[in-house]
């Protein structure tokens, strides 16, 4: 079990690190998709089957598409996807700060005594139970999330849409 986890964790973190270091945006995005799939695998390993498939659907199926679309729409020339090299000083600063955060987090995790749970068997939560949880105690939150998604959809469309409707006469 632990072996599987370590493999998943290693591959995922490595994919993320490489994605963040790559100069080619498309490669970065595709690697991140792979990274998200790895996280889904982690969820599967942890027994959260529904969450894993949701993660796949949302990230691999939807977010990746939007990201790729955004990448394609914001390239000056469609054939060059290579980024300008970033400034070295900022990279060094980022690495320093990131390293500090990593160290602090690792220190915190390792130094705190977490209750050694005896969860030997994987707790499974069936789709049906999840459904009644969502529709029962968390119904309000579900509604709010629905509203947020709707507002987001409309907002995103409005932000990204061109202003031709209002000022079309001036421009054309």
């Amino acid at each position: 079990m632990t072996l599987a986890f370590l493999a998943i964790a290693f591959v995922t973190v490595a994919a993320a690190a490489v994605a963040m270091a790559l100069r080619n945006l498309i490669h970065s995005a595709l690697l991140l998709v792979f990274n998200w799939a790895g996280i889904a695998a982690f969820y599967l390993w942890a027994g959260a089957e529904f969450v894993a498939f949701s993660q796949l659907m949302v990230y691999v199926g939807a977010v990746s598409m939007v990201v790729l679309f955004a990448v394609l729409l914001t390239q000056r020339s469609p054939q060059s996807f290579r980024e300008q090299p970033d400034s070295i000083s900022r990279v060094i600063g980022a690495l320093l700060v990131g390293g500090a955060v990593l160290g602090v987090l690792f220190g915190a995790v390792l130094s705190s005594r977490l209750a050694p749970s005896a969860a030997t068997a994987t707790p499974t939560i069936s789709v049906k139970e999840l459904g009644s949880l969502l529709m029962g105690p968390h119904a309000a939150a579900l509604l709010i999330v629905g509203v947020i998604l709707t507002v987001t959809l409309i907002g995103a469309v409005i932000i990204a849409s061109t202003d031709h409707a209002e000022s079309g006469k001036d421009e054309s």
Binding site: V33, F50, L56, G61, M65, P78, Q79
Partner: protein, 400 residues
């Protein structure tokens, strides 16, 4: 092989018994692995064969429709044509453009095929025939299916070709547009069945009304509407005509397939047919009662035969659509999805809610329930359709 085993042998249980026979020879710790490998092998083999002959069938039918014989030189009725094609594809030179992204160019067809095949895992081919019994099977199916468009994008982008890139963009736009009606169209089924497990959904459709009418979802107003939306969206999802915009030969010289040749091209082809089969299988599972027989006295025929029959019928329908409909324009395609299919699917959701709330109605109320449900499906269809097609009269071409 002893006599007792032979006595228990029946057509229905034959696959499972054969599998047990094979795994019985192996030590216990290996059995699960062999089970899985067996399932994968059987699926690959049978659907590989199906793919081969499906291409042949498509070419034959297309030929017939277009008043020409179709392939008829290799073997009787051209029966060996698929194998000849396979040999040709394998022996052709594999060309990769110089500016291409080699890794992605190679990965694209592989990933596409892999994801297509993955979807077969949760399809219940027969009463006891399902490779992986998942609690969230339907979700898994569509999660895996969503990844296929990503592969198409990879192929289009990696080819380093304008047309291919355009195809990639179109593939993304099309996926984003049609994912929504596709998902919304089967939510009613989940509402009624109360489960995301494919086997459970099929079981929920068992039983007979009046003793002979099957209780399939397609035979209810909401089910029929959902089925129609599902099949339309499935056509788009599998990039089949009339929604084959990413590969549109006449506009994009085959789109993302432009820079592919030889075996990679064959893989793409294979993946398309696999995806088509998977979606048809899902449609059968969700709406057409899965592996159940259509009439009570036909239940003696094995369930997997019924599944295959239904799936093949739907596949033939796809082929039929391909040879009759012209291709859409990209704006027509997205408008059709957003303005027609999505609202209808949402209204269908409401209809299903009504249906599920009124399940206790009997007698005259039962008739009222049917009438209201039909009205809820038909009237919006008519209204939205009218509104969308306003001003789009039949076109006349002067010189055509």
């Amino acid at each position: 092989m002893n006599a007792a085993f032979l006595a228990t042998l029946s057509l229905e249980l034959l696959p499972a018994q054969l599998r047990d026979m094979v795994t019985g020879w192996l030590p216990e710790p290996w059995r699960w692995l062999v089970n899985s490998i067996l399932a994968i092998a059987v699926i690959l083999a049978s659907f590989g064969l199906l793919f081969a002959y499906l291409t042949l069938a498509e070419r034959k039918i297309l030929g017939r429709v277009q008043n020409r014989p179709g392939p008829n030189r290799t073997g009787y009725f051209g029966l060996l044509q698929p194998f000849a094609d396979g040999v040709k594809a394998l022996t052709k030179e594999d060309i990769v453009p110089r500016g291409a992204d080699h890794l992605l160019h190679f990965l694209a067809p592989v990933a596409l095929l892999a994801f297509s095949i993955m979807t077969f895992a949760v399809l219940p081919f027969g009463r006891n025939l399902v490779a992986v019994e998942l609690d969230a099977g339907v979700l898994y199916f569509f999660a895996a299916g969503a990844a296929t468009e990503l592969a198409v994008f990879m192929a289009g982008w990696a080819s380093h070709n304008k047309y291919s890139l355009l195809a990639a963009m179109r593939a993304l736009a099309q996926l984003i547009s049609y994912e929504l009606p596709l998902l919304l169209s089967f939510v009613p089924v989940i509402m009624i069945a109360g489960s995301l497990s494919t086997q459970e959904i099929v079981h929920r459709q068992s039983g007979w009304m009046f003793g002979f009418v099957p209780q399939w979802h397609v035979l209810t107003p909401w089910g029929f509407a959902g089925f129609a939306i599902f099949m339309t969206a499935a056509l788009a999802e599998s990039n089949r005509s009339p929604f084959d915009l990413p590969e549109a030969e006449s506009e994009l010289i085959a789109g993302h397939l432009t820079e592919y040749s030889g075996f990679k091209y064959a893989l793409f082809f294979m993946a398309e047919y696999f995806g088509m089969c998977a979606l048809c299988g899902m449609a059968v599972t969700l709406f057409l009662g899965g592996w159940q027989a259509p009439l009570p006295f036909l239940e003696f025929i094995p369930s997997y035969v019924w599944f295959a029959t239904k799936m093949l019928t739907l596949l033939l329908g796809f082929i039929w659509v391909r040879c009759t409909f012209p291709r859409l324009r990209i704006d027509q395609l997205t408008r059709f999805a957003w303005k027609f299919l999505v609202p209808l699917a949402l209204i269908n959701l409401g209809t299903t809610a009504f249906w599920s709330l009124t399940s206790g109605w009997t007698g005259g109320l039962q008739i009222a329930r049917w009438l209201v449900a039909i009205a809820l499906v038909v009237i919006p269809f008519q209204l939205i359709g009218r509104k969308l097609s306003a001003g789009l009269g039949p076109r006349t071409y002067r010189y055509a």
